[in-house]
């Protein structure tokens, strides 16, 4: 059990800064997620916590003690690697016993602990096998087993599920969450998959270009993303974005103008500045007729593509515009980040409504769910509600 604190931690490589000044506090027993696109510095951050990478500046504290200069073996942290990194020349039992042998525990104690861990992870029958004879999911368990036998202060997991197939990944995700609750060990989990981040984490830190964009609970990130990047990164399917402008007390969108309730406008939205307006697919609802009223915008859309998922239906439609400038989204979110004057939107609709591709659909967008971002800085201009 341990709490972790990062104070202005920096990692520089010759020519680049992999992690910019980062400060974080991870509470004892917390399941903390570092999420971001590849190359955002999340793994570097993890390696610095465990001591495989040296910090270039700042301090890392575990339970209030600075561990900057401690060797990995003195930090009592266990790590699971994306490649699992189980030792191919040792049996499953030897793999799990390895950290205990290095710690010079007595033989009987090692045997009991390995048996216990094997039981928790349902590896009982596989103890004498070599990793070569195991499936991907089993290897993943062995890597977990090697981490938990030590009863470490902290678990560090570096994309542990990304080498598994989709079904197994979902299953292991649930098991991982259960295991962490059961053991109550502080866990730092690195992933690029926002679904894993949302489902597993007590709190999430979103990283981009070696910089933390936002730290918060999954709910906070989803409902009030701090900037465009977080808004687009969290959620699947992704948030819809449109260009917008604030004029005459109304928000001008390619779909029409909409009034915002005063509490949503905040101090003031900048007139003239190009804005980006975001809304989630589930916040589009089928509407009975056309026309705008306060707090909602009704419009019609021609269905281009339907994706029926059983419990929900995704409706894709195009929105075109002209006369808006400065509509550029963060590169990681877009294959084509240029202002093309046309975007595909998606709405999540009840599948019971019996739609076909090519149909025209009346949709209602509620102002309460709109996110308004400054197009230049990407910052969320809407005050946090609730």
């Amino acid at each position: 059990m341990a709490s972790i604190e990062l104070r202005s931690v920096v990692k520089r490589y010759p020519g680049t800064t992999a992690v910019k000044e980062t400060s974080l506090a991870i509470a004892d027993g917390e399941f903390f997620i570092l999420v971001g696109p590849s190359g955002c510095g999340k793994s570097t951050l993890l390696n610095m916590i465990v001591g495989l990478d040296e910090v270039s500046g700042g301090e890392i504290l575990v339970d209030g003690k600075v561990v900057n200069d401690l060797d990995p073996k003195e930090r009592n942290m266990a790590m699971v690697f994306q490649s699992y990194a189980i030792y191919p020349h040792m049996t499953v039992r030897e793999n799990m016993a390895f950290p205990l042998k290095l710690a010079r525990l007595p033989q009987e104690e090692i045997a009991t602990r390995v048996e216990q861990a094997a039981e928790i992870l349902e590896l009982g029958g596989l103890l004498e096998r070599k990793p070569g004879a195991l499936s991907g999911g089993q290897r993943q368990r062995v890597a977990m087993g090697r981490a938990i036998v030590r009863d470490p202060d902290v678990f560090l997991l570096d994309e542990p599920l990304s080498n598994l197939d989709a079904k197994l990944r979902t299953q292991m995700r649930t098991e991982l969450a259960r295991l962490q609750r059961r053991l109550g060990t502080t866990t730092v989990y690195v992933t690029h998959d926002q679904t894993e981040a949302m489902t597993l984490g007590d709190r999430i830190a979103v990283l981009r270009h070696g910089e933390i964009q936002q730290v918060g609970t999954p709910r906070q990130l989803y409902e009030h993303p701090a900037n465009l990047f977080v808004a687009g990164f969290i959620g699947s399917p992704a948030m819809n974005f449109l260009p917008g402008r604030w004029s005459e007390g109304r928000l001008q969108l390619p779909l029409g103008a909409i009034e915002l309730p005063p509490e949503q406008v905040g101090p003031s939205l900048p007139t003239d500045n190009p804005l980006v307006v975001g809304f989630r697919p589930e916040h589009l609802r089928p509407a009975s007729g056309e026309g705008s009223n306060t707090g909602a915008l009704d419009f019609t859309a021609r269905i281009e593509v339907l994706e029926w998922m059983g419990a929900e239906l995704f409706v894709y439609f195009d929105v075109e515009w002209s006369g808006y400038t400065g509509f550029i989204l963060p590169q990681e979110l877009e294959t084509d980040s240029k202002d093309t004057g046309r975007r595909v939107m998606v709405a999540r609709i009840d599948p019971a409504c019996g739609l076909k591709e090519g149909d025209t659909l009346h949709l209602r967008l509620a102002a309460a769910h709109l996110q308004v971002f400054d197009a230049a800085s990407g910052a969320n201009l809407r005050p946090e509600i609730g």
């Binding site: 990995p72 073996k73 490649s83 070599k130």
Partner: protein
């Protein structure tokens, strides 16, 4: 049918080719064995199979104290050279593969250049240096050049094997509580075992078979190895050519090499298949 007959023909040609190569390689060895078993008076009989088999030459060489000490020198010097080259080579190769430092490529190239250097060209200076340093006619005097000339090979072979080992394994060992040395010994080295054996065989054979350094840098039984000692064989009488004894000695020194290769070859194959390096 057609495919089958083509298949069979192909296999036949492979068999013929194989037999040819093996014959070509083994006839001189067989001739040597045959010579070593012939009685002295039959040595010039130009027959492939000895008319009469005798072990007298083997008895002769082992009675000669010179041969026994040469065997001891050969074994000791080759073993020390191999161990030292592997130890240094493993360290150097690991550093070259794992550490980021400038001049890694240069180091590898320089190592290769050493291996390309013709030994003959340094024999003269070495002879003088060793004499003034007191290394002439000592084990160290031979171990040093053997190590020097085989280290590049060891480094290149081992570096190739180390490169194949996922770095994550070393990191995992470090996080599991191993010191850098423990991680190397418990995780990296066992996985690179095939490479270690390969390099070991190459170094051992170089040291065991070398004649040039051995003949130039030794003068007595203190450090003279078998290849050099054979050249100093004399017949049982002044007027007899020691052909039989030389043949017997050659057979005796060939055996350990064959043994070592066969032994390690099995380890190499076993190591390669049981590696299963994949996360």
């Amino acid at each position: 049918m057609r495919v089958g007959s083509k298949d069979r023909r192909e296999r036949l040609w492979w068999a013929v080719g194989g037999v040819l190569v093996i014959t070509y390689a083994l006839v001189p060895v067989a001739w040597l064995v045959s010579l070593s078993l012939k009685p002295a008076q039959d040595l010039g009989d130009k027959r492939f199979l000895p008319r009469q088999v005798t072990l007298e030459h083997y008895a002769t060489i082992f009675q000669d104290s010179q041969f026994a000490s040469a065997l001891w020198n050969s074994a000791g010097i080759a073993a020390i050279s191999t161990l030292a080259a592997l130890l240094l080579g493993a360290g150097a190769a690991y550093a070259i593969v794992r550490l980021q430092f400038s001049g890694r490529r240069l180091m590898l190239a320089a190592a290769l250049a050493v291996a390309m250097f013709p030994p003959v060209s340094i024999i003269g200076p070495l002879f003088n240096m060793w004499r003034s340093l007191g290394l002439y006619d000592t084990w160290a005097g031979l171990v040093l050049p053997y190590m020097t000339f085989t280290l590049p090979l060891a480094i290149w072979t081992l570096a190739a094997f180390f490169r194949e080992i996922p770095w994550d394994l070393e990191k995992a060992a470090r996080v599991d509580g191993a010191s850098p040395l423990q991680a190397f010994v418990h995780v990296i080295l066992p996985l690179a075992a095939p490479g270690v054996f390969t390099a070991g065989i190459l170094v051992f054979m170089f040291a065991w078979n070398d004649f040039l350094f051995a003949i130039s840098l030794t003068s007595t039984n203190d450090a003279r190895t078998v290849p050099a000692a054979i050249a100093f064989f004399t017949g049982s009488s002044l007027f007899e050519l020691p052909t039989g004894a030389i043949a017997a000695a050659s057979v005796v020194v060939t055996l350990p090499v064959i043994l070592v290769v066969l032994l390690f070859q099995r380890r190499i194959v076993a190591g390669l298949t049981s590696g299963a390096i994949k996360g």
